[in-house]
């Protein structure tokens, strides 16, 4: 009886320590990667952001236009940055089938030689990928919508397709995205704007990567 009791203690102690070490306590739910092979080499993968559902927050700077005012949750910039060409946006990210797979941040700001746009995408089960491109001109989306018939303060429905980043590059990555180089494009497809300025539509990030 005593031996059994001691054996139980040893097994309980050892088993718990073994579980602490070997049990995968953190395991992110992973969906199949929606990648396709590109004819001339590399792999293509598209990430989607549905507006307004996937918008988490955006900064409130004057230069953000509808992309700032239409956000449910505004990030209030300090006064020093209010007039700067600076827009920070946070989103959920979907794969090409429309399933949410990650989160992302987009920074649009003035660099030392003009505007830059950078994305950091985190797909928890796979890693992160960083994208960069020359930044779009200030207010380009608002101007395009107004050319398509949108009037500030009024609701609008229609179809607008605007490429915000052409010739963007993959700047780095971790996990499954480590060691990749390549290019990406960013296209905004807007189908409506409500009276409060919230946009409906899709942001498409199309990446083509290959192992360096």
């Amino acid at each position: 009886m005593r031996a059994l009791f001691l054996l139980g203690i040893v097994l309980g102690f050892g088993g718990t320590l073994a579980a602490a070490h070997w049990v995968p306590w953190i395991s992110h739910h992973r969906l199949p990667s929606q990648t396709t092979v590109v004819a001339n080499g590399g792999r293509a993968e598209q990430f989607l952001i549905h507006l307004p559902a996937d918008r988490i927050a955006a900064t409130d700077g004057k230069t953000g236009g509808l992309r700032s005012t239409g956000a449910d949750r505004a990030m209030l910039l300090p006064a020093k940055f209010d007039a700067e060409p600076l827009l920070v946006e946070h989103y959920k990210v979907r794969d090409s089938t429309g399933q949410v797979v990650g989160i992302a941040a987009r920074h649009w700001a003035n660099g030392d030689h003009g505007m830059t746009a950078t994305w950091s995408l985190l797909v928890p089960a796979r890693g992160s990928i960083v994208l960069r491109a020359p930044g779009e001109k200030s207010g380009v989306l608002d101007a395009a919508l107004q050319r398509a018939g949108y009037s500030p303060g009024a609701a609008w429905e229609g179809k607008l397709e605007l490429a915000l980043a052409q010739g963007g590059a993959v700047a780095g990555g971790t996990g499954d995205f480590a060691g990749l180089s390549g290019s990406y494009t960013e296209t905004w497809k807007v189908t409506g704007v409500d009276a409060s300025g919230a946009m409906r539509g899709t942001i498409e990030l199309y990446t083509v990567t290959r192992i360096q």
């Binding site: 097994l11 309980g12 320590l17 953190i26 927050a57 300090p78 020093k80 600076l86 959920k92």
Partner: protein, 224 residues
């Protein structure tokens, strides 16, 4: 039946002893590297300089709600995204950071601690953008601050300093990649340090001051 009871009692006591050993395990409380002299420092304070925070439903510690809409989907329910204003050494706003975080599969309660993968996108207006990747061991903070106060209702014994960065680089440092502007193409290392200056049973009573130390070659260029 008696033998089964004795065996189960032994298992429970053994598991309890192991749990205690894990709680006081010295392997999981190691701290990150100290910042080097000359590193560029960007500071933040919580909650004043938090622009926004969204936290995954399964990332909420001790079941506490953040009061903001969470990230509920299965694939992102252990992540968080935080927007921060970073200040320079003079206390003036110098940068905006988006901090994407996810609980790390490399978490090992016996040897490494509770690890969080931390991805910073830091933009310094007029200069450019940096990507910082670090692995942070949050177990010392959980053990010394959060669990005693939130779970065991004990008074907080602070203030407390933490240096959570434990990788992925050798020497317990994070990695820095210059993405755009004057930083483009540069690589370096980073460490984070923070002081919890107040901590209470509610989130509103919590405050902290943090520092992100960036070590980049040609530091003087980045500091212009």
């Amino acid at each position: 039946m008696k033998y089964l009871f004795v065996a189960l009692l032994g298992l429970l006591i053994g598991a309890g002893l192991a749990g205690t050993a894990l709680y006081y395990n010295p392997f999981t409380v190691h701290t990150g590297a100290a910042p080097a002299t000359g590193d560029r420092v960007l500071r933040y304070s919580l909650p004043d300089q938090v622009l926004t925070a969204a936290v995954g439903e399964d990332a909420l510690l001790a079941g506490r709600s953040t009061g903001v809409e969470g990230l509920w989907e299965d694939t992102i329910d252990r992540t968080a995204v935080i927007g921060l204003v970073l200040t320079d050494e003079a206390g003036q706003p110098a940068a905006i950071a988006s901090r994407l975080m996810a609980a790390s599969p490399s978490t090992d309660l016996l040897l490494t601690g509770v690890v969080v993968n931390d991805y910073w996108l830091v933009t310094v207006p007029g200069q450019g953008t940096l990507f910082v990747r670090s692995d942070s061991n949050v177990w010392p903070f959980l053990k010394e601050t959060l669990l005693p106060v939130w779970l065991f209702d004990r008074p907080w014994r602070g203030p407390a300093e933490y240096r959570p960065t434990v990788g992925p680089n050798a020497g317990n440092t994070g990695s820095v990649l210059g993405v755009a502007g004057v930083f483009e193409g540069k690589t370096g290392s980073a460490v984070e340090r923070y002081d919890v200056t107040a901590f209470g049973a509610t989130q509103n009573s919590t405050s902290a001051v943090g520092e992100l130390f960036l070590h980049l070659p040609e530091q003087q260029v980045a500091q212009q």
